[in-house]
Amino acid sequence: MTTLTPATEAELCEAIAGSAAARTPLEIAGGGTRRALGRPVQAEAAVSTAAISGIRLYEPGALTLVVAAGTPLAEVEAALAAEGQRLPFEPMDHRALLGSTGEPTIGGAVACGVSGPRRIQAGACRDSMIGVRFVNGRGEAVANGGRVMKNVTGYDLVKLMAGSYGTLGVLTEVAFKVLPRPERALTLVLEGLEDARAAAALSAAVTAPFDVNGAAHLPARNGTPARTLLRVEGLEAQAEYRATSLARVLAPFGEAGRVEGEAHEALWRDIRDAARFKGRDGAVWRLSLRPSDAPGAVARLRTALGADAFYDWAGGLVWLCLPETGDAGASAIRAETARLGGHATLIRASAATRAAVEVFEPEPAPLASISAGLRAKFDPAGILNPGRMRA
């Protein structure tokens, strides 16, 4: 399969226009580390954004960053760190879980709408995005949003592009609102809580006014006791105050221990990257639910499917690992989301399973037709990542 690696947006326009005319289906890739997300793509050629790279504008005093889509995430994070800032949405690195190699790019993180533990307080990937440039399936360059934090000029295609997996356009540039790094960050840890009790502790923590921005629960496994993790950050004095106050709120659930420094960083990196399932066989799912519904759903799916689970997002994000047999648990899992609301995404499975099972939650008919309509407008020839989201 040939790979086109345009170096500019204009070259990308040309490449896509040519492919549209020839009806050549294209697989779109940044660093390729998230290729195995979604359904397998039926493509005849590949387009890489790797050469459309570099930080275009960074104004720490305005908290804004404009970056070319193919820029390695590591480069972006290093540039921000040098100014004491960071991306608010804490994007997951999928390499360990998916066993992929390469350098994650900012465009890939955006196209997959990847948001980590800080989602519950700092917002999703899409909430940090303030502008995009992309090339649609006709080979036309389109700009939306800009480089200012508040902008309601016309429709918000910025959000639409986040999580559209390259099926509406190929991103060439993304603008973000960034945030300062905290002076201090630490984690409070509760041990030995059952899921339902842990869910109550997570809820108590995020409904207290201490800006908790990480709230996860790792159920007991293989003799390791359950751990419930709550992250607070802030200026030096602020973080201390928040931790002390939060410990009081959590007192009914037990005495909270503290983790700081590198161990604290590692804890949240592991939650972010679903490290619990690293190197283990099985299909991996991600469910977004109303947090209080999650423990019940998990209990049923444990029994029905032999699933191992952990929780992020104050309990509202459930990660499941279960045997990849039959439909990899799809019907049982989707019965839960159908009943409770929310949605489930198959994150890791063999290509055969991902082709056979709906990877993304099926949409009800009226929404499915809107989504299909959008895809047809943005990419009339259907050449951008065909099959990646829907068959």
């Binding site: 948001s115 939306n144 200012v148 309601v152 000029t153 300062p180 905290p182 602020q238 105050y241 959008l374």
Partner: protein, 479 residues
Amino acid sequence: MEMPQPDARALAARELLLRRLTEALGADGVISAAEELIAYECDALTAYRCPPMAVALPRTTREVAETVRICASLGVPIVPRGAGTSLAGGSLPTADSVILGVARMNRVLEVDYPNRVIRVQTGMTNLAVTGAVQGDGFFYAPDPSSQLACAIAGNIAMNSGGAHCLKYGVTTNNLMGVTMVTAEGEVVEIGGAHLDPAGYDLLGLICGSEGQLGIVTEATLRILATPEGARPVLMGFASSEVAGACVADIIRSGVIPVAIEFMDRPCIHATEAHAKAGYPLDVEALLIVEVEGSDAEIEAQLATIKEIAGRHSPMVMRESTSEAESKAIWLGRKAAFGAMGQLGDYICLDGTVPVGTLPEVLRRTAELSAQYGLEVANVFHAGDGNLHPLIIFNANAPGELEKAEALGADLLRLCVDVGGCLTGEHGVGVEKRDLMLHQYRPADLEQQMAVKDVFDPRWMLNPAKVFPLAISESRRTAA
């Protein structure tokens, strides 16, 4: 300002329309008498007025759907309306339209504290949402200055912001789900009490779409725990440039205040005459910076802010030490728009600029104001560069409105030219419609209009807004 020719077919259907709407909604759900339609002939952009054919005031999502189906079947355009406080003419009727108002749909449907969500009908006012939960220690973060009057419906349609969005974001960042009636009259659910979409981010698309993609009837909103305390500091500076530089330094420092509000000399003087908040009258610009948290957290943050401000030789530095002092500091800011109203008629702009360009933009604003001979007062959300220049004019003097609009257009072009945008929170409506091509190229707008084609193929929902009439014409007249 130009509006399209009313559609003759829609006008001709008026009688049938009224009969069918009355059947569906009852006599008290339909307004058609000329004297009663006057209340709906404009929104807060009062320079433009036009009575609609009728006003429909449904009470349920089902009635909204029924109303939409009736209008669709008769080819009558719909202008959705919340509370009618749009400053952009977003809910300005056209002569051939039905106003579909959700004001009667103002109930709380569900409050769920453990999961931090509230579900409401969208006719509820912004302030009433916070009112419903504040007794229990929660609040709804987006706080437009119009929050006493404006409805969640309009907030969603305009993606409204407020003074505190520097920390908490704007409507789209706090909206989790909607029930929406499509242009065909079908009811759809998007999002809910869980986070993030199952596929394309349709919710993100609908928020800010100015009533052009569907009628939003219910909304699930994020509510947050009320902070333990909040305290502002007021600082006065010798020039707007210095105040602008101070803003950038505060933001760089790592403190994220919940609000940084800016007022310039004309605004300070008008406000002081009206509200008597005790603002200093010898400064060129003042900043109100508010931080939140416990007393100790507030002290720590204010110490950093004061230290930074100290480097910019402030002429005044007044830190609140009590609830009463905090109120006094905010009093003037909150009264600013009302105070400006005392000076004469005004147009309120809403461009946003990169924070680093604030000094330059303020200088150019003063130059343009002098050039046009019209006073411009500045009061705005400085932390995010969202300007609100108020152009003062006399609507009774022939030609002054046009002159004020021309100055406004120049100021908005200036915002775009320095890297900003036409509107940060008020929306495009009819007001900025014809400037869209200054910010976007035709291909950019074509892609946006293609989105409307998907949701509303016949362009029946608020059709004459957002896009320059010339470029939307073929779509509007196709049906």
